[in-house]
Symmetry: C2
Subunit: 207 residues, 2 copies
């Protein structure tokens, strides 16, 4: 029901209803879509970065339907941070890829990827709504192995919230991933913003 209806039903003001709904949202029980209403949160998908599975694969394995939108793709000059991480010159061309990913038609993840085009010639002409890891394996015989991961729980930036059709300031999980080739070069850098309620990260450490 809408906020106004809930207010009437429970004889409280709309402001109070909103606070209560925002509490439930913080717990991950419900979520909202911008000016469309409140919905029950579906179960979170389990994501194990160390398993090197593609989004499409682990989402469908868990019984959900994945989908990917390509928001932008272009070859662009590397900025300072990317250049430094990839050990290339600032301004050297890299492939930038901006995608939105869905689980059961719900947008849950915005990712921005910076791909080392030197190591993957011709990749900019491939279909990049598909699984990148599959493509790397089939066309370039590259398999993800070593990676550096970083997680922070933080609010979704404004443009990300917009792309996910949620409200600004919504809680999210920020993941940064650096993928290396077998010979320790930086293959790809990935910045992910997840809806906080859409994912649970599980990693096994085996020394």
């Amino acid at each position: 029901p809408s906020e106004r209806e809930l207010g009437e039903q429970f004889k409280v003001s709309r402001v109070t209803v909103r606070q209560a709904l925002q509490h439930l949202e913080a717990e991950g029980v419900i979520y909202r879509q911008n000016r469309r209403g409140w919905f029950v949160t579906p179960p979170a998908v389990i994501y194990d970065p160390a398993k090197h599975l593609s989004f499409n694969l682990y989402v469908s394995k868990q019984g959900y339907t994945p989908h990917t939108d390509k928001l932008m793709q272009q070859v662009e000059p590397a900025n300072k941070e990317i250049a430094q991480l990839m050990s290339i010159e600032k301004g050297a061309p890299i492939l930038f890829l901006h995608r939105r990913r869905y689980i059961d038609r719900r947008p849950v993840l915005i990712e921005k990827m910076y791909i080392n085009i030197d190591l993957l010639p011709g990749i900019e002409n491939e279909d990049l709504t598909q699984s990148l890891s599959q493509l790397l394996l089939n066309k370039y015989q590259h398999q993800y192995r070593d990676m550096d991961l970083s997680f922070t729980a933080t609010a979704l930036p404004e443009h990300v919230a917009k792309d996910l059709a949620t409200s600004t300031g919504q809680a999210g999980l920020h993941v940064k991933r650096i993928n290396f080739t077998d010979d320790k070069k930086v293959l790809e850098i990935d910045y992910e913003f997840w809806r906080h309620d859409a994912v649970k990260i599980e990693i096994s450490i085996r020394d």
Copy 2:
């Protein structure tokens, strides 16, 4: 300044001030202490679970001062979940340890640990405000190796928020950790609730 002062200063209502402050809080720029006021968030500590360092060690290595409160300690019967994970009988004695941990006098983490007392006889008589990993190493020659980790970004439960002197519904990071012995027995299960703005998790995966 207080919410009322800010409202006067910028000629907006207190409700609006609160919303703005809550946005900044979600971004991790500021935080509040229950009925004490709003404060600037100090830098987050970097936590790498795979490095097997103790809280005291990695916090002080990064230039901060760690501190630990023991909120509760008792030998108690294992509940179903714990018993199952530890492969012991439900109701068998385990050591429960409830601690609050500080960085530079700011409470940032509540942890509840369930320790397999069979593998660590006499541990309940040790000083458990100190580093557990140090104790395990010195007294039992146990070193953390394999572990299963799980992360979710979620609101702090009511009692956790209270223990951290913050407001209910505050964003947090929930970490579950299962530590194994060298021979693959479950040594200890750890449930951690972090302030979302106090920690950044970094893991290197090297296959």
